[in-house]
């Protein structure tokens, strides 16, 4: 089990000590051209979650490769580059320009840009042709059948899945105006966890691909549940905002949660969730 950050939830250059606590650092999504991102306000707290509309703020491919990537390499943490764009060629060109990194995560589902809904497989196929690096497809659970999308990207050559991205949400202030300047934004945090667990279980059953599970993981027990549903690795997102020491804490709690569940190692926990038939007997 590897512990990563969810893309966009940590700046390893601003907080290298936090990044070094992880088994891999996932960058903010890199797009071909620089993006300043959305106007503020960009964040809103909700019941058991938060909304963000950062708007894929990033320095763009050229500056990322020339400036950011070399400095990230100096951290000594395996690097996962999150790649975004507006058409398959955007993604493929960035993949082709990436050299020695651990893996590429294809952001197929950022809710803050127009979504390439039915072109997930096309994007993956284009990237597959452009790089031999491991390709993880990050999917949204907003699709009515996320397992269908998972099967499509698996057939197109994805090596793994990142599940899940935020879900689109809206929050109003006291004056009934959207809190976020863009109106809606991506919902993250504990309120996302049940949705994410279902997506992980469904995609694990549908594809058997390695899955990085994420969505509201706050404790080691949460991480164990993602593994039990079929994730091989897990990523921390919103919890990093309130607790930069979460990586070490969650790791320690996961060991304890495994012991309590009778699991020898978190590496043995993938897919061990019981089926409803086994665990729920109707009392006589």
């Amino acid at each position: 089990m590897r512990l990563l950050n969810a893309s966009g939830c940590l700046d390893a250059l601003a907080a290298p000590q936090v990044a070094r606590e992880l088994d891999g650092f996932v960058t903010k999504t890199v797009t071909p051209l620089p993006r300043e991102g959305s106007a503020p306000p960009r964040i809103a707290e909700t019941a058991h979650g938060m909304l963000n509309s950062i708007g894929l703020a990033n320095p763009g491919r050229e500056r990322f490769l020339a400036d950011h990537l070399p400095r990230l390499r100096e951290l000594g943490v395996p690097l996962w580059v999150s790649v975004g764009g507006f058409c398959a060629e955007d993604y493929a060109e960035t993949c082709a320009a990436l050299g020695d990194v651990e893996a590429v995560e294809l952001n197929l589902s950022c809710p803050n840009v127009d979504e390439a809904a039915d072109s997930a497989a096309e994007i993956v196929a284009a990237c597959r042709a452009a790089t031999r690096l491991p390709l993880y497809a990050k999917l949204s659970a907003a699709h009515p059948d996320v397992a269908e999308v998972a099967r499509a990207v698996a057939a197109a050559g994805a090596d793994g899945l990142s599940l899940i991205n935020t879900l689109r949400g809206l929050a109003l202030d006291r004056g009934l105006r959207p809190v976020l300047a863009r109106g809606s934004g991506g919902l993250s945090g504990p309120s996302l966890k049940p949705v994410a667990l279902h997506a992980v279980a469904a995609c694990h059953a549908a594809t058997g691909l390695p899955i990085i599970g994420m969505g509201g993981i706050t404790t080691g027990r949460d991480a164990l549940e993602f593994l039990a549903c079929g994730a091989r690795d897990v990523a921390l997102g919103t919890v990093l905002f309130s607790d930069p020491s979460a990586p070490g804490r969650v790791r320690a709690e996961l060991d304890a949660a495994c012991a309590e569940a009778g699991v020898v190692s978190s590496d043995d926990a993938t897919g061990i969730a019981k089926s409803p038939e086994n665990s729920r007997k109707v009392p006589a």
């Binding site: 700046d11 936090v18 503020p40 950062i54 504990p190 990093l240 905002f241 930069p244």
Partner: protein, 243 residues
Amino acid sequence: MSSVPQPSRRSRSRVAGSERVGPYTLLRLERGALDPGVPGQFFMLEAPGRLLPRPFSLCLAPPGELAFLVDPIGPGTEALCALERGDDIAVLGPLGSGYRLDVERPLLVAGGIGIAPLPYLRERLGGGTPVLLGFRSAAHAEAAELLPGAQVAIGPELVTDLVPDGYDVLACGPEPMLHVVAERWPDSQLAWEAPMACGYGACYGCVVEIDGALKRLCLEGPVLDAARVRKLQFATSRGGVAA
């Protein structure tokens, strides 16, 4: 602006006491191993029962304690005001960049809850530093007791109209006030405010227009040279995390 390494581990602090100051609450935490930092730097305080912590600049640094002035304007700040002696919360800080203290003729100017960082700032500058405070009501102006000898403007009178020439202005307050200060005193230092989820550069939520581009206030500030923010394009109202 002064720059210090950003802490990466939260610690827990016990509440040493909590006092009403006008409509505000002065929340006193046991200092433990926490560094009070430079005036104008901030701490992320866990808001009990809420997902996200809230940012506060340090108000006072009595021996063995760190004190924060809290305005109960939303669920998070109300939860902080309800804390009692002996409770404990998670604390991360000090974060960001504070005021430069190497100024020749400092004058402290604040509006409303913007008074928060001034008591510690004045202590570090030397007790005799002059202070101008503006409040919207006499009840709010009770907070002036934190800065003995301060000149106070209440209601329609604007604190910015009281500022004499020839001073190095160090200000904190609502955004319209800071814009006026930035325009009139281009060499002033301003403690800015923005909704923040993390306080250490991770969430990208606290951007304001700095040097003509959207930049993270938690890393660039919160204290900024006026010249860096004079051409604000966006109305960065309090918004975002509901305090």
